[in-house]
Symmetry: C2
C-alpha cells in the first residue's frame, strides 16, 4: 500500500471549514470557534447547522466502527475539523493547523528565518493553558469517572476543587503572568510577540475571567484578581473581549451559553 | 520591541540537543529519549550527566522567577528541550519539533504536496495516546491532588483506578486498534504509513504492554491482551522492542527503571 498522502487532494486551502462538535455546550468546540470568529472566516458549525443530525454526526465519529478513510485515520473524540480532504481532531492540534491559515500565528508567521520555531512557543503556551484551565477544571467535577454524574462523586469533587483552587489555579495563573512578563511577549497585552495570536484567544476562552474558569469558580477567581498578582492576565482578557469581531460574536446567538459541559458552576465546590 | 524572532540564531539544526528532566524516574522525559535512541542521534541528558545539578536545573526552569530569555518564553514544567537558541517544553510539542528532524515523521516527510498535513495526523494520535496512557494513568494514583502523596488519597484512587480499568483503558486501546485497522496505517505494524514514526515510539513507551501502563496495571492489561481485541497494539509493542537501537537502549544503563513517577504499581488498585 502506498503512503496515505498519495491520495490527498491538494486544494484544502480553498476548501470550506467544517467544525463538528456537540450542540448545546461551548466545550472544546468553543476554542475553535473563537479563531474563526476573530479571523472573520466563515465555517460550517454543525452544532448549529445540522439540526437533529448534530448529535448523530458526533457519535458517528466516536463509533467503534469508525475506521477513518483513505486519507485520514479515525478520530478519538470531538471537536473534529474537516477541511477539504483532511479530517483531524484534538483541540490543540486543530488550533495549530488553523492558526497560520487564519492569520493568528502572529510573530510566528513573520519568523524571518523560516524555521517556524515560534510556532512551537505558541503551541507550548496553548498546551499548558489547556492543561490548566480545561482539563484540570473538568477534573474538579469529575475526579472519579467521566462516565459518572457529578452527583455521584461530590465528596471527591469537593477535595479536588479545593486543591485546584488553592494550588493549581494560582500556579497556572502565575505561569501565564510570567509569559506576559517575558521579553518574548513584546508590545501590547499579548502573550507572544506584538500582535494577538491564537494563544490569546485560547486563554480568553479558557481561563478568562468572566467565561470558563470564572464561570466555574467566580469567588476564587475574584480573589485572585484582587490580589493584583495576575493583572496582565486579566488585562489580556479585557483586550480580547474588545476585539471588534469577538465583541460581535459574544453578542450573537452563535455564542453557546455555559451549562453542563466542562465549566460548571457548583457553588458548594468553592465553600 | 521587535518580535522575538529577530534575535533568533539560525544554526539550530547543527546545534546539540539537550534534554532537561527529573533524574531517577522515566516519566515524560522518557518519551523524548526513545526518539533520540531510535534515531541514533546524540543528546545531552542532564538527568544523567549533570550530577547533583540535575535537580536544581529542573527547579530553575520551574521557578517563579524564570521569565525566559530574549528568544524564549518561560516554560511551565519539564521535560525541557534546548536546541541552539531555542528552548521549548510540553512533551507533545517537543516530540512534534523533533520528529521531522530525527527522521521519525515517516510518511509525513514524504508528503508530496508539501502541505505537511500528515504531521497533524501524527500529532493527534500522539496527543490521544498521551491523554489516555500518561495523563489518565497519573490520575489513578493522584485523583485528588498532585501535591498530596498517594497514601492520603487511597480510597479515591481505588475508585478512579476502577473506572480507568473498566472504561478508559479499553476505550483508548480500542482507539489505537482502530488507527491500526485504518487504511492510513499502511503496511507493517505501524500506526501511520508504512514506516515506524514517533507515534509508534510514544505508544511503545506509554501504553505498551511491559512498560508504563502494563507496569502499573499488569493484571488488567494481561486480561485485555488475552481478549484478542487489541492484537495490533501488542504486536506494535513487540515490533518497537525489536528495533536494533531500541533493543540496545533498553539493555543499557541509560534506561531509567520505573519507580514513583507516573507509572506506579500499587497492586491494591487492581483488586
Amino acid at each position: 500500500m502506498s503512503s496515505p498522502q498519495a491520495k490527498r487532494v491538494k486544494t484544502n486551502d480553498d476548501a470550506p471549514y467544517e467544525l463538528i462538535y456537540w450542540p448545546g455546550i461551548p466545550g472544546r468546540g468553543e476554542l475553535i470557534r473563537v479563531l474563526f470568529e476573530e479571523a472573520g472566516v466563515p465555517y460550517n458549525d454543525t452544532a448549529k447547522t445540522a439540526g437533529d443530525q448534530a448529535v448523530p454526526m458526533v457519535l458517528g465519529f466516536m463509533a467503534a466502527g469508525n475506521k477513518g478513510d483513505a486519507a485520514n485515520p479515525p478520530v478519538f473524540a470531538p471537536p473534529v475539523l474537516k477541511h477539504g480532504s483532511l479530517t483531524i481532531n484534538q483541540a490543540p492540534n486543530i488550533l495549530l493547523y488553523l492558526a497560520p491559515k487564519l492569520g493568528l500565528a502572529g510573530a510566528a508567521e513573520e519568523d524571518g528565518d523560516g524555521d517556524g520555531d515560534a510556532l512551537f512557543h505558541l503551541n507550548e503556551i496553548v498546551l499548558t493553558i489547556l492543561d490548566g484551565f480545561v482539563n484540570e477544571v473538568h477534573e474538579t467535577h469529575h475526579p472519579v469517572a467521566t462516565s459518572m454524574v457529578y452527583e455521584d462523586q461530590k465528596p471527591e469533587a469537593k477535595k479536588r476543587a479545593k486543591a485546584f483552587i488553592d494550588e493549581r489555579l494560582p500556579k497556572y495563573l502565575g505561569y501565564v503572568q510570567r509569559v506576559l512578563d517575558a521579553k518574548t511577549s513584546g508590545e501590547g497585552p499579548w502573550l507572544y510577540g506584538d500582535e494577538l495570536t491564537y494563544a490569546d484567544l485560547v486563554l480568553f476562552q479558557r481561563e478568562k475571567c468572566v467565561d470558563g474558569t470564572q464561570y466555574a469558580f467566580p469567588k476564587s477567581m475574584g480573589e485572585l484578581k484582587k490580589s493584583g498578582k495576575y493583572d496582565g492576565v486579566f488585562k489580556l482578557y479585557d483586550a480580547v473581549k474588545e476585539r471588534p469581531n469577538i465583541k460581535k460574536y459574544l453578542e450573537s446567538d452563535r455564542r453557546t451559553p455555559y451549562s453542563s459541559g466542562i465549566w460548571r458552576h457548583y457553588p458548594e465546590l468553592e465553600e
